[in-house]
Subunit: 294 residues, 2 copies
């Protein structure tokens, strides 16, 4: 249980490391016209747990990745994640006014700015990644990120999610949404962590599987906590997904079935963490996400 | 003048080559859920002159680029260009119902789909490019595209363009919009053409300058033709930009001043074409764009 206790402080240190890497990147690259630069900083430096950068760092550290490639990949996945939040919050999508307790980008600025901030963040993600390695790794890393973020990954997941609203979805349909919308980018984050290591390419597939399992566990627990959690644990109103008629694993499998699936995914993620040599931090991170979620 | 006569058929052959490369790419990669795949094909295969792929090919052929890297780069720049059109047409931006004579993506589908199609196309651009070369060129190419497309390039140009609407802009403000919104991606296209050649990196900066000059010439002529052209030449209603109170070089410099600037940019582009060894096709392409624009 020492491992589980270590994961909390490690995650906090990792969050600070990610903040530093993001600030360093934003200070270095050309962010365009001042109005765009301001909105980009607002979107990107608005808090958040920086789970995806942590995943990059966890795998990279275990496999001997170099600091420059690891930081570049961490910045890249967080830029992609942030752009997806900015676009998902748009009136034509989820129409959210608040994000991490602050007004969303389109509420502070306007819709056009929010679309363009998201577009710019995606370009910046690939700019960051291109700096990660010019020895052949750079292209392999760009491929991993593009696939995790693109139509067969995150963007496709949002399409499925919007199409599924108000419908009864079976468990496989819910899993397809979870896989594409959330797990694909978590998978790519772990994969990039492997690729940041000089000989990490041979472990990239296993790392991808670890990130995917972690993502599926995370989403299954999200559905469970939407029913059983309180607002303080969730950081949002319980019952929100059920109320919005979003397809959930609880609706498809019942509460016990969804909890059992979360447990199965957690076991899978722990096994992969062990075989990847992530040590106690890997399994501890799974336990941490399983326990507090959000 | 033989050169000028050759450029027309070459541009048409190049357009067909780009269509084939796009169709091959779309047939090969995972385009996600069927609804997204359909919308992606609608957006990407809707005609267009494929000027940016032509620019990639022109420079790559002159410098000895290989076919695979050249086609990948051509697909990438056209994906970026198409995503920018889909997002620019959104109600919160230019609010256009028609594009290339067909209903815009958000009119055929809905706004959420249009946002997501654009997002997916940008990811696909970098996926295409990642295939271009895993020998170190891939990362350098991703950097060129990300900078041309990102906040200091195309996206920043759209921010400036929207901010400038309804205002009197001086010539430098108009040039800043032209540079970022259009010329940056044309510059990146030419740069990618150079990088597609095994030893093209040393010519990349010159190629970028050629694409930028071509883009600035193109935009200056666009402003001139908005005043002097007829609908058949323009492919759009003359006076549209002046009517929309968009800042133009004609408004800032007068008709003669804008025409003189277009001519200066054309001379610059022709000189760079010659020094890059693009032959008659390079200067012919400048003449062609200068003459018929659109």
């Amino acid at each position: 249980m020492t491992a589980g206790r270590e994961a909390g402080p490690w995650l906090e240190a990792s969050r600070q490391w990610a903040e530093d890497a993001l600030a360093e990147f934003l200070g270095r690259v050309d962010l365009g016209p001042p109005a765009l630069e301001e909105a980009l900083r607002y979107a990107l430096l608005g808090g958040g747990k920086r789970i995806r950068p942590a995943l990059v760092r966890l795998v990279s550290d275990a496999l001997g990745g170099d600091e420059r490639a690891t930081a570049s990949a961490a910045v890249a996945v967080e830029c992609i994640h942030t752009y997806s939040l900015v676009h998902d919050d748009l009136p034509c999508m989820d129409d959210d006014d608040l994000r991490r307790g602050r007004p969303t980008v389109h509420r502070v600025y306007d819709e056009a700015t929010a679309v363009l901030v998201g577009d710019a963040l995606q370009a910046l993600a690939f700019e960051a990644l291109a700096e990660a390695g010019d020895d052949g790794r750079g292209a392999r890393m760009a491929l991993a990120l593009a696939r995790g973020a693109g139509p067969a990954g995150m963007v496709g997941g949002q399409v499925l999610d919007l199409a599924g609203e108000g419908r009864d979805l079976d468990a496989d349909a819910v899993r397809a949404i979870h896989t594409a919308k959330t797990a694909a980018l978590l998978g790519a984050s772990a994969e990039l962590g492997a690729l940041a290591a000089p000989r990490g390419a041979e472990r990239a597939e296993e790392a991808l599987a670890f990130g995917l399992a972690l993502g599926m566990c995370f989403q299954a627990m999200d559905d469970v906590l939407d029913v059983t959690g309180d607002a303080a644990t969730l950081g949002k109103t319980p019952g929100k997904d059920a109320g919005a008629k979003k397809g959930t694993l609880v609706a498809a499998l019942g509460l016990e079935g969804a909890q059992a699936e979360a447990n199965r995914r957690a076991t899978e993620a722990r096994d992969l963490a062990t075989s990847l040599g992530l040590g106690g931090l890997g399994t501890g991170l799974v336990d941490l996400l399983l326990a507090r979620n959000s």
